[in-house]
Amino acid sequence: MAAVNAELRFEHVSFSYGTVPALRDVSFSLAPGERAALLGRNGAGKSTVLRLVTGLVHPAEGTVSVGDWDTRGRAPESLARRVGSVFQHADQQLFARSLRDDVAFGPRALGLAAAEIARRVDTALAALELTAHAAEHPYDLPPAFRKLAALAGALALEPAVLVLDEPTAGLDRPLRARVARALADSAAAGVVVLVATHDLAFAAEVLERSLVLDRGRVAWDAPLAALLTSSERLAPLGLAPPAGAALSAALDLPGRPVRERDVAHALARVAAARGPV
């Protein structure tokens, strides 16, 4: 799916908005196909990291690179050849007359041929099960569908790196499952997936690595499951275990699963072994 595979790399990145420091000495790198959650309190700097990846802002110190491209000196339009993004409040950013036209906007701006644009738009709409809504006006649909359409627009760029800010806010379970499937498919095709989110249940379903920011610094960088199974690690970072992981811990389920389906399976197995509950 991705036109190229590329690593996303932050090297000693600092950034301030005027006098407000937002990021301090942030370093990490994500390999093609890696799926990472970007976590932390409100104001910790998550959206700023994503803005740096898309070239909306540039580091004051350090380097952000996407494959062999340094983002410095590149505008968002140029980076859009490698980076797809959906920001908070993306449902407000649609402006075309149909969902289809909105999804086509990015590929068109890349200057692709009409047939290639059509192929990508069809694929992206199908990935989020939006095909039936393609002809509808975005503002006749609930905000949650507009959010999915914005994600479809990012997928249609067929980027090497996909960065998403709170993609599940305001989404119900069925729609969250659609986003989860689309992200898993992208990662399987080699796309770097980086998701800023407070929805740890969603993160547990699709993401594997966790990067936690605390007042602009990387305070944790390790497998997500290791974080979710430890209240002692979560609490100081301002995080709380999602209900599935909390249940798994409270009942002391073997292996401490964190995904809801895995928790249910473990529960069923233990219950079968010990008789009726």
């Binding site: 309190r41 908070q88 806010a169 305001g170 599935g244 909390a246 809801e260 009726p276």
Partner: protein, 265 residues
């Protein structure tokens, strides 16, 4: 006497053939917290707009049935709504967060000391005292959501309508909002909240309203969120859903604490 009453309300958005609400009846008593749950498009947001007197008055469209709101009287907080789009709710008139939160109370014509007290309490309740001097236009998404909630709460509304108030909040922020909801209800405020944070509801809601396709399917205690039909609709709490997936038999526990008790029996 109910603070908010909807009697057989149907509502159509402009140029829409199908009604977004159909024959909805609901009453909210003083001090009551009512949670609206449903899948996307079920009508919860529309019900809040109708209760806030924004639909059809501001958004247009057509309404049938009766909506009645009894406030506390002139110069007192009436009904306040927090929309799911916080950035559309800034006054655009304030250069600091403090002034932004003071904007609503000032419009109620309160004396200056009362305004100052209400603003400071509201900022403290949402733990954003440190943002008081910041320009609201430069806040992060979650910070902005807290500021908007603070601005509405500072008006001491008699009826508080909340649409996904915790969507962009971190767990501490979400906890603050839910505790604030309970505290305001304790002071007699009626609260109607549409939320997809189903796991929070057993602690927060007095009653849960399940909406589907513009219709009220069921109204009941939070235990509703562990019933079979609600599970099937994807609206159960995580614990109920996991218990059911594990085929451990109904009634499903609602919360981790309930599950733990059942497990140890």
């Amino acid at each position: 006497m109910a603070r908010l009453t909807l009697e057989r309300v149907s509502f159509w958005y402009p140029a829409m053939g199908r009604p977004a609400l159909r024959d909805v009846s609901l009453a909210a008593a003083p001090g009551e917290v009512i949670a609206l749950v449903g899948n996307v498009g079920a009508g919860a947001s529309t019900l809040l707009l109708v209760a806030a007197d924004l639909a059809p008055r501001v958004v247009g469209g057509k309404i049938e049935g009766r909506v009645n709101f009894r406030g506390r009287g002139k110069g007192e907080g009436g009904r306040g709504i927090v929309l799911p789009t916080p950035w559309t709710q800034l006054s655009g008139m304030a250069f600091t967060v403090w002034d932004e939160v003071a904007f609503g109370p000032a419009n109620l014509g309160w004396p200056r000391e009362r305004i100052a007290g209400a603003v400071d309490r509201s900022l403290a309740a949402l733990d954003i005292g440190t943002l008081a001097a910041r320009d609201p236009a430069t806040l992060s998404g979650g910070e902005l959501q807290r500021v908007v909630v603070a601005g509405i709460v500072a008006m001491e509304p008699a009826l508080l309508l909340l649409d996904e108030p915790t969507a962009e909040l971190d767990p501490e922020g979400a906890g603050l909002v839910w505790r604030l909801v309970r505290a305001l209800a304790g002071d007699g405020c009626s609260i109607v909240v549409a939320t997809s944070d189903l796991d929070a509801l057993p602690e927060v809601a007095d009653r849960v309203v399940w909406m589907e396709d513009g219709v009220v399917r069921r109204i009941g205690a939070p235990a509703l969120l562990a019933e079979e039909s609600v599970c099937e609709a994807g609206l159960a709490t995580t614990v109920a859903d996991v218990w059911r997936t594990a085929r451990l038999g109904a009634p499903y526990p609602l919360t981790v604490a309930q599950a733990e008790r059942r497990w140890r029996q």
